[in-house]
């Protein structure tokens, strides 16, 4: 494995994965280190793929980020992207399939198999790939009325064409797991509740208690990754921001960071500090909305109103400083489209301090409302073991004792120059998640105030730059957790392939773990305590 670091001049960081030179891998794989993206690329054959992913996950403690399927002239190629921590480079395990080959091995047998599961099911639907050994492929992103053999992400598929869906089959019934006398499945959704996003949950029950929950998503699939192909960066940015409106800034930022890596754009310090401020403003608003949702699910009317008032205050504040209530149209490659004046910074800092006080008072009152706590404690438990094997991210994982935070692991924007705490709880129940949301909101307010009171001067944008061809990964800690945007650009600044792994995609996969063996009336509470977005998951 001499080629691992032979071309690398700067040795300030650990290069490659030294363990690759061990005897076990000798002659089986080829690895190169790419200094621009600080990543190690491992060329692997399909035969060794499962062993390699198992070794990275179980022996070396790498975490699976996302699977990228890319179609080049020679055929399909698969990249499994892994990360660990700031001192270890990202690892890309690349497998090039032969022309016309559509089969790859499935990771479903591994300890971390569940974290690959949905990626494989999605690739099966959208690219027509078959993952050998996967127990359940088909009917995932594309529902049962989608015609067989039409794979929208393939290059030969025209995104503007309309597909004639099959007529619904009235005899079709979803598969059920529970077989017992009197067992039945109660469907909830896709249209349910007051203002719920579209998704379906089938609660399998034998009477009072729900035994299993089988969720069904992708009712909102808008083909964002497909329609972004061929679009110029400024147009694709609209999609990156608008596929998930409640975390628009985080996803726009991840998209822009990928472009900045590809094109070698230096973002000015003021833009980095302001990006941190806006990212935390969004997190603060998102967490407040989730807290309001949890209070609402337990029918605690005054608390819902209090959290709702704070949420609307934050929306108005966003509109005042950024001209948009959901921070659309703010981030651009190379910086931001809009600066904040000094008075604006002071105003924001003061308002955020008030919001933090309000949230603290609300938390204090909730902690002593026993009827409220009864509904949350020991409800919807996700164990640490499950959180790891399913690759859960964000506040959900941190409530189950998994303390990963992209802002700490790979500091972007200005996160490297401030101190903040990543709250962790161990119980993994609804109350643990509520506490994490409250603590994170408080940390967000503190981080915002730190930068608002010591804002560096200078421009907020690097200005116009020339495009370069290339591919890169943009990574942020979105309000719901780690988000990965992988992007391949051509030299004209057009997007050739775009892959988004939103945090809700990882966390919805683990939702059924929390929704097992519970009473019917707890379902809205478990749902609210996850605080996830279907728009973000479905794309």
């Amino acid at each position: 494995m001499a080629m691992l670091d032979s071309t690398v001049k700067n040795r300030s960081r650990a290069e490659g994965v030294p363990e690759l030179s061990s005897r076990a891998w000798k002659g089986r794989v080829a690895a190169t280190f790419d200094h621009d993206t600080q990543s190690c690329r491992i060329q692997c054959s399909g035969v060794d793929l499962v062993d390699m992913c198992q070794w990275l996950g179980e022996e070396l403690g790498f975490v699976f980020a996302t699977l990228i399927v890319d179609e080049r002239s020679g055929g399909l190629s698969l990249s499994y992207i892994f990360y660990k921590d700031a001192d270890t480079p990202w690892v890309y395990v690349d497998v090039a399939l032969d022309a016309n080959a559509i089969a790859a091995p499935s990771m479903s047998g591994l300890v971390h198999g569940p974290s690959f599961d949905w990626h494989e099911r999605e690739a099966e639907d959208l690219f027509g790939l078959t993952f050998e050994g996967h127990p359940r492929l088909g009917e995932f992103v594309l529902h049962e009325d989608w015609p067989e053999g039409v794979n929208p992400m393939r290059g030969s598929f025209d995104a503007t064409q309309k597909v004639s869906l099959r007529a619904p089959d009235p005899s079709w019934e979803p598969p059920t797991i529970v077989t017992a006398p009197g067992a039945f499945a109660m469907p909830i959704g896709p249209v349910f509740s007051d203002f719920a996003e579209s998704a379906q949950f089938r609660l399998e029950t034998v009477g009072e208690d729900v035994i299993r929950t089988i969720p069904r998503f992708f009712y909102k699939y808008r083909g964002v990754e497909k329609i972004a192909e061929g679009q110029k960066v400024d147009r694709a940015l609209l999609l990156a921001e608008r596929f998930s409106g409640i975390s628009a800034f985080a996803h726009g930022l991840a998209f822009c960071q990928a472009i900045e890596t590809i094109c070698g754009i230096e973002t000015p310090p003021r833009a980095l500090a302001l990006r941190t401020v806006f990212a935390e403003l969004e997190r603060l608003r998102h967490h407040t909305a989730v807290i309001a949702g949890i209070c609402n699910s337990t029918a605690l009317a005054v608390a819902t109103s209090q959290a709702g008032l704070i949420e609307e205050d934050l929306l108005r504040l966003s509109c005042e400083v950024a001209q948009h209530r959901y921070l659309f149209g703010l981030v651009e490659p190379g910086g931001l489209c809009r600066d904040i004046s000094d008075e604006g910074c002071d105003h924001l800092a003061e308002a955020v301090a008030q919001v933090a006080t309000g949230l603290r008072a609300l938390h204090q009152m909730l902690r002593y409302s026993s009827s409220f706590l009864d509904r949350l404690e020991e409800v919807g438990i996700v164990s640490a073991e499950n959180a790891l094997s399913y690759g859960l991210v964000g506040a959900i994982a941190r409530a189950s004792g998994v303390a990963r935070d992209i802002r700490k692991l790979f500091p972007y924007a200005a996160y490297g120059s401030t101190k903040f705490v990543t709250p962790v709880e161990q119980e993994g129940d609804g109350y643990a998640r509520l506490r994490v949301f409250f603590h994170e909101a408080e940390q967000s307010a503190a981080v915002m105030r730190h930068f608002l009171l010591s804002m560096p001067g200078g421009p907020v944008s690097a200005g116009r730059t020339s495009w370069r061809a290339g591919a890169a990964l943009g990574t942020v800690e979105a309000p719901q957790g780690a988000a990965f945007h992988w992007l391949r650009l051509n030299e004209d600044g057009a997007v050739m392939r775009y892959r988004i792994r939103p945090p809700s995609f990882a966390n919805w996969h683990g939702f059924h773990l929390a929704a097992e063996n519970f009473a019917f009336q707890d379902f809205p509470i478990i749902l609210a305590s996850f605080g996830l977005s279907n728009a973000e998951c479905d794309r």
Binding site: P152, T160, E197, I227, A289, L300, L317, C319, R325
Partner: protein
Amino acid sequence: MANWVLKGVRTGIRTTSYPGRPEHAPGVTPGRPLGASFESSDQAESLVERCPTGAIGRNDDGVSVDQRRCVHCSRCRRGDGARAPWESSYEWAAHHDDGAEPAQRLQRIFGRSLHIRFVDAGACGACVSEARQINNPYYNMHRLGFFMTPTPRNADVLMVSGPVSDAMRLPLRKTYEAMPEPKRVVAIGACAIFGGVFGSTFAVSGGAAEILPVDIVVPGCPPPPLAILHALLLVVERKPPSPLTSLPPGHVTEPA
């Protein structure tokens, strides 16, 4: 529990006085671009070029704005070149066929009260969040006689957001068919009006009007809560509609 009651009482009334009096609190609306006249056609052309959705179009020497297509990207108010004037209004709702009166007047039937069923047909979440805010104490739709209902059987108004994804076509149509007559469909946001940034593709229909007879549209990306309240007030005929096209000053809309 007594401390919650006390907390509620201490908070006092925060609710807006709209529609009685206009709301001027900062940040209740992002505002929107207006039509404008320019000295040179280059300036107008630069605005037309910067608009990614074709909302801004040439009108003599100036530009007019088709509010239905605006996605609030703010590119026409920033950057190099001419800037579009900006208004901070929020009464944006209008009849789907601009200027056309509904065939059947509903005020008598509904009184002033409406029951609303909301369907998310592929929205990004921002429209859903803004629609949820009308239940927030700041906006409190209940004081105006508006209520959410979980079942379409009790609903007078179907509120739709999103470009209507393939999988939501059937649930959306079934929801509409389950509602008793008379009924109204309100399309919220640019996506529900024309597909928004998602357009009309293999995955989305390109607007609710492709599936259902839409009565009222609320432009915006997302429309603020007050614009959604305006749409409901338009349904019960307590407020007039707002023009969907903003023309350069001096131009007048031709009578329909």
